[in-house]
């Protein structure tokens, strides 16, 4: 398929932009560019076909089953888009005077209230643009908390070896040191190993619960107590909140701050369809450090409070990806208190259904009753037949199913991580189970045939090694 630049024909025009209705103001000569801008030139018809062709070649939640573990690829209800497109939300500017955007501020305040209720937090900022950005914000809050108390020796954040890679990366970004602890034989935090690394340098712990193996940290109260007694704070990575919404709250488990992935758990577009939103909630004592401004109730209405002398400052322009917050708010209000809980219980039931059915053939790593996701290990098949997790994942593409997460968490060799989510039907899961069991049979009988998969896609098996060793990072026409 040709790139849009290659389809360009000089002089061809389309008229998608409306006439300018404000006075034209010319830039000073010194600021104007002297070379052509190099934009593609084409007709509206050609442009429309170009993007339709791209759409046909991509795969999203609307195309089929998308069990990408740790990513919660759930259905995004259309009503979310309708609400965020309301003119009172869509046609406003973040620099408008606050008295003209009271409805928007009220929506932010309501979203804060409801998401604090779900997480057990007291305050929330919506500035972070996605999960990793939320992690950075949360760890900066923890760092500032220690700094304000003159506790400057606390430079270590403990991270289990099953954690999302963004956790230790976040720690490094804040100038602190990540201390990795080995998971116990049951795949959970090993209390003795945790006790061995806490001390006067402990600034905090980052944890996701359930963890990346889909297992609930049943010792969570003791874990957070160990950290608190050592003088540290505990950060909740909200990536796996979909397993416990309406049932258990990070705030009640002893977590001091959390981030949420609205684009995962709260059904807003995700994966190329973004933008994301990674709000950070915290307990009262961390609230003074939240990014400014924050939405505050003032009399009968709302205002934006910039007078926050202890704030860590801005994390993003304006108030974050506002339209995504509206989608998440719509989702929470649509489901309601019981619906939120039902979403989580169904997600857990679905994961256990698939885990049990697949365990007929596949080895499940840490085979316990799981939460919203589980991890299979293909190391047996790799040894016996030379079939890797990647081979199974690529074969799924030929059967119209998006691959699960591969090679994560790092503590499971040849990992495939499956998260079916609550919005998938039993029929869809049964088809996927059948496909996976059938692929397993092929892997045993004719392993060679799987090395070439996928065969039905516009681009077949890509050479990931060559791409990583010799990346071509820009288009050279």
């Amino acid at each position: 398929m040709k790139l849009i630049f290659e389809k360009s024909v000089p002089g061809r025009r389309l008229s998608l932009l409306p006439d300018c209705d404000v006075p034209v103001c010319k830039l000073p000569e010194s600021l104007r560019r002297t070379t052509p801008i190099g934009l593609p030139e084409m007709s509206e018809n050609e442009l429309s076909r170009h993007y339709s062709a791209l759409e046909r070649r991509s795969f999203g939640v609307n195309n089929g089953f998308y069990p990408l573990g740790s990513c919660t690829m759930k259905y995004n209800p259309r009503i979310n888009d309708e609400m965020s497109a309301l003119p009172g939300f869509a046609d406003i500017h973040p620099l408008q005077p606050v008295h003209t955007v009271q409805g928007a501020l009220e929506a932010l305040a309501l979203a804060e209230q409801l998401l604090c209720e779900i997480t057990g937090m007291d305050h929330m900022t919506f500035q972070p643009a996605a999960g990793a950005h939320g992690e950075l914000t949360g760890i900066l809050l923890i760092k500032r908390y220690h700094a304000e108390r003159g506790d400057t020796e606390r430079t270590e954040i403990i991270v289990p070896d099953s954690a999302h890679g963004t956790n230790p990366a976040t720690v490094s970004m804040t100038g602190m040191t990540a201390v990795s602890i080995e998971s116990g034989p049951d795949g959970r935090v090993d209390l003795d190993k945790l006790k061995a690394v806490v001390g006067p340098k402990t600034a905090g712990l980052m944890l996701t619960n359930p963890n990346t193996l889909g297992l609930f940290e049943k010792d969570i109260l003791e874990i957070t107590d160990i950290i608190h007694k050592a003088g540290g704070l505990v950060y909740y990575d909200g990536a796996n909140l979909n397993a416990i919404m309406g049932i258990a709250r990070p705030g009640d488990m002893g977590f001091d701050c959390v981030h949420l992935n609205l684009h995962k758990t709260f059904s807003t577009p995700h994966g190329g369809g973004g933008p994301g939103s990674g709000p950070v909630g915290c307990k009262d004592f961390l609230a003074p450090y939240l990014p400014r401004p924050v939405v505050e109730k003032e009399g009968e209405g709302y205002t934006l409070d910039y007078e926050r002398p202890l704030s860590i400052g801005r994390i993003k322009t304006f108030y974050g990806n506002f339209a995504i917050v509206l989608r998440a708010l719509t989702y929470v209000l649509t489901l309601g208190r019981e619906g939120i809980k039902e979403a989580s219980t169904q997600a857990v039931l679905n994961a256990n259904y698939m885990r049990k059915k697949l365990s007929e053939c596949y080895d499940i790593a840490y085979d316990y009753t799981c939460m919203h996701e589980f991890v299979m290990t293909l190391s047996g098949l790799k040894k016996e037949k030379g079939i890797t997790a990647a081979d199974i994942a690529k074969a799924l593409i030929d059967r119209g199913i998006h691959p699960p997460t591969m090679y994560f968490p790092l503590i499971v060799p040849e990992a495939l991580m499956i998260e079916p989510v609550e919005t998938e039907s039993k029929e869809t899961m049964d088809e996927a189970i059948e496909a996976l069991l059938d692929i397993y049979k092929v892997a045993c009988a004719d392993p060679e045939s799987l090395h070439a998969a996928p065969l039905t896609t516009p681009v077949g098996r890509v050479d990931e090694t060559a791409a990583a060793r010799h990346p071509k990072l820009r288009y050279e026409g």
């Binding site: 890679g165 190391s379 090679y407 790092l410 990931e464 090694t465 990583a468 060793r469």
Partner: protein, 125 residues
């Protein structure tokens, strides 16, 4: 350099006494096989202090980035620059292609000979 002279760490690095006061450090053949095709090797700088059991370098495969733990405490006196441009050399021969060399080695991690290491890998699987 005979294969049996290398000593192995549980974290899959090897240490080889070169007999001239320096020690070579590399990763085991099992490690390169488990990592898969390597695409990037991040080595320490000459003069860096390595501490036994602490991360000193990292290797990146298509799957993941993995820390390399120094099997001994000492000073980095040489690095294998070949690996910076051709990380695949580690996949081709993990034993002949060292990562870096140490001098003034004062302390070692708990290390195994080849037979014990092979047994350990077997049990770990």
């Amino acid at each position: 350099m005979g294969k049996s002279e290398r000593l192995y760490a549980k974290s899959h690095e090897w240490l080889l006494d070169l007999g001239d006061g320096t020690f070579a450090v590399g990763i085991s053949d099992h490690a390169q096989s488990e990592l898969g095709d390597l695409v990037f090797v991040n080595l320490p700088e000459v003069g860096d202090q390595a501490v036994a059991g602490e991360p000193i370098a990292d290797v990146e495969s298509v799957k993941a980035v993995s820390d390399i733990y120094s099997p001994a405490t000492g000073t980095v006196v040489a690095i294998n620059e070949l690996l910076l441009d051709t990380p695949e050399a580690l996949n081709e021969n993990a034993l002949e292609n060292y990562l870096f060399k140490l001098s003034d080695v004062t302390e070692r991690s708990e290390l195994m000979d080849l037979a014990a290491y092979e047994q350990y890998v077997k049990e770990e699987a």
